[in-house]
């Protein structure tokens, strides 16, 4: 079994992993930057190591410091958290070469899925529908040819990209002429690789993803889907399960084909297959080969502990349940509470009590750092059905009091309380519709 884990991440996820370690009787060492010294993950871990100054490039992306910390504190495994190096195949490889267990997929799997073109090919092989798209675009001429074949609008993507970066929507040929070289330069800059491809662009799709666990030997279970359609600039704001727009037939095809993909890959650990849904069809988008921020909604309906599962799988203990033992019960909804500015938090009342879970990493007197993402807390509610869950989330949001920094709590109340959200009939453009005008300053 794993005895001591280095946690190479930060924020509420780092604390989440510390808590899972304590529940499993595993020791935890948090590797943190100078800016994160006074956070709850550091406070509650068995040990902590400062690995560098605030900028991620010198701390959370500093492979040598992280590995030194892991080895010198005698860890036998490493959890990469989310973001930062969690989807870096070379990092996973370096961890394993240093003799540590990497709590995540095999480096080869990460590498394959990190290349969007190769990932699409694997998806097609597993029987997943993909948006009509191009091969790798060698030059502007081939880009023009593919665009007219697919029909405008199209979206240009970097083969090595992800998370909204390096994407560019093209609505007519003149935009392609200026946009294609620009997108290539961006891709080179961000990802060190200027390979591009192109897909048919969906105007206002839903974003739905399937959560999976694989034991690395071909055993795979899915834990249903999450609907993450409420986004702002491609950043998720709310996530719910089950999705209000999937019917049983679509859910079954979507989950079964996702299981097939992971089985083909002999996938190891937790992972998510992301889809776009529009007009009664769904299209494979990408695989997130790691834990996701929104994993708690799946935990509430499945009763399973995804981080504990990750650790057990890494320790070669397999998955706790077979597919026929997985029961998804009721409805869960998560709201991300973001700071709209950095600073010291003077008051921080979060909801508690029945049917509500709160994940955070700060407590009054601590500081939301300007160096990282703006997530302050996640509020997750469990209910028997969607309407009850929405009322419960409004109750929970009503209990939040944050002083010291501005937050998006009022925006979240606007969204969750809107008849549009309650109807379940909206696309990824919901935020712009509800909050776009008045709250653009945020």
């Amino acid at each position: 079994m794993i005895r001591r884990i280095l946690i190479a991440g930060r924020g509420e996820i780092a604390l989440r992993i510390v808590r899972a370690c304590k529940d499993l009787g595993v020791e935890s060492v948090v590797a943190h930057s100078e800016a994160d010294r006074d956070t709850l993950a550091v406070r509650h871990a068995d040990r902590s190591v400062c690995i560098g100054p605030a900028p991620s490039s010198e701390s959370y992306l500093n492979v040598r410091s992280i590995l030194s910390a892991a080895i010198l504190t005698r860890c036998d495994a490493l959890h990469p958290g989310v973001g930062f190096l969690s989807e870096s195949a070379s990092f996973a490889k370096a961890v394993e070469e240093a003799g540590l267990i990497f709590i995540g997929p095999r480096p080869e799997t990460i590498e394959l899925l990190g290349n969007k073109v190769r990932a699409r090919i694997s998806a097609v092989e597993a029987g997943l529908p993909v948006t009509p798209g191009s091969e790798t675009l060698t030059d502007l001429a081939s880009a023009k040819k593919w665009a007219s074949r697919l029909g405008y609008p199209v979206i240009l993507k970097a083969s090595a990209g992800g998370g909204g970066r390096g994407m560019r929507i093209i609505r007519k040929e003149s935009e392609l002429e200026s946009g294609f070289p620009l997108a290539r330069r961006e891709a080179l800059l961000f990802f060190g690789d200027d390979s591009m491809y192109m897909e048919k662009f969906l105007e206002n799709p839903r974003h739905v993803e399937v959560q999976l666990l694989g034991d690395g030997s071909g055993n795979v279970v899915h834990l249903g889907e999450r609907d993450c359609s409420v986004q702002r600039n491609h950043q998720k704001l709310l996530e719910e399960t089950p999705s209000p727009i999937l019917d049983e037939a679509m859910r079954e095809v979507m989950t079964e084909s996702s299981v097939a993909l992971f089985r083909n890959l002999s996938y190891r650990g937790a992972g998510t297959v992301e889809f776009l849904v529009e007009g009664g069809s769904f299209y494979f988008m990408e695989v997130n080969a790691r834990l996701q921020v929104e994993h708690p909604v799946t935990e509430l309906v499945s009763g399973m502990d995804l981080v504990a599962e990750q650790i057990r799988i890494a320790a070669q203990k397999g998955i706790v349940r077979r597919q026929d033992e997985v029961a998804l019960s009721g409805y869960a909804l998560e709201c991300r509470i973001n700071g709209l500015g950095a600073g010291r938090i003077a008051r921080f009342d979060l909801p508690s009590g029945p049917h509500v879970r709160t994940d955070t990493f700060l407590t009054p007197g601590m500081t939301l750092s300007p160096h990282y993402d703006s997530l302050l807390a996640k509020i997750i509610v469990h209910a028997s059905a969607r309407q009850e869950g929405i009322d419960r989330m409004l109750r929970a949001l009503g209990e939040v009091v944050v002083e010291g920094i501005p937050t998006n709590v009022e925006e979240q109340k606007t969204i969750v309380g809107s008849s549009l959200f309650r109807s379940g009939r909206f696309g990824t453009g919901l935020y712009e519709t509800l909050c776009g005008k008045e709250m653009r300053h945020g």
Binding site: E34, R37, D38, V42, R43, V49, C50, I51, G52, P53, S59, R64, S65, L67, S68, A69, I71, L72, T73, A98, P364, G365
Partner: protein, 145 residues
Amino acid sequence: MLYILKPAMKNLADMTVRQLLELFEASSLTELEVKTGEDSVRFARTGRENSVVPAPFPEPKKKADDLEVITSPIVGTFYLTPAPDAPPYVQVGSVVQKEETLCTIEAMKLMNNLEAEFSCEIVEILAKPEKLVEFGQPLFAVKRL
């Protein structure tokens, strides 16, 4: 918010410092300043809620204005000697010239020599040899020469 009132207040001059302090202790104030004529007294305290904030590193024992602290630029194992049997690079009282080696920090099987950025005298060695040092951890207290 600051309210400035201009009334006359009689019995302030009659209060002892002890009485004022008792008031202060029992209050939620962080600051209390009293002036009467040429006398003045000021009480202050810092937020009481920070007892659980972790102290980053133990402070160097001696603190003087002319001491500087050299910290670790990386995570690694701290060595005072270039090899197990070799004599230490420095010890307390050593005078080190700019760019001379102070210690070795081993990270990922690479030996990194830490050089002095300025000439100095070693006043205290703050980290334990052969132990992990974190980023930013104080290694030496020195007097700049």
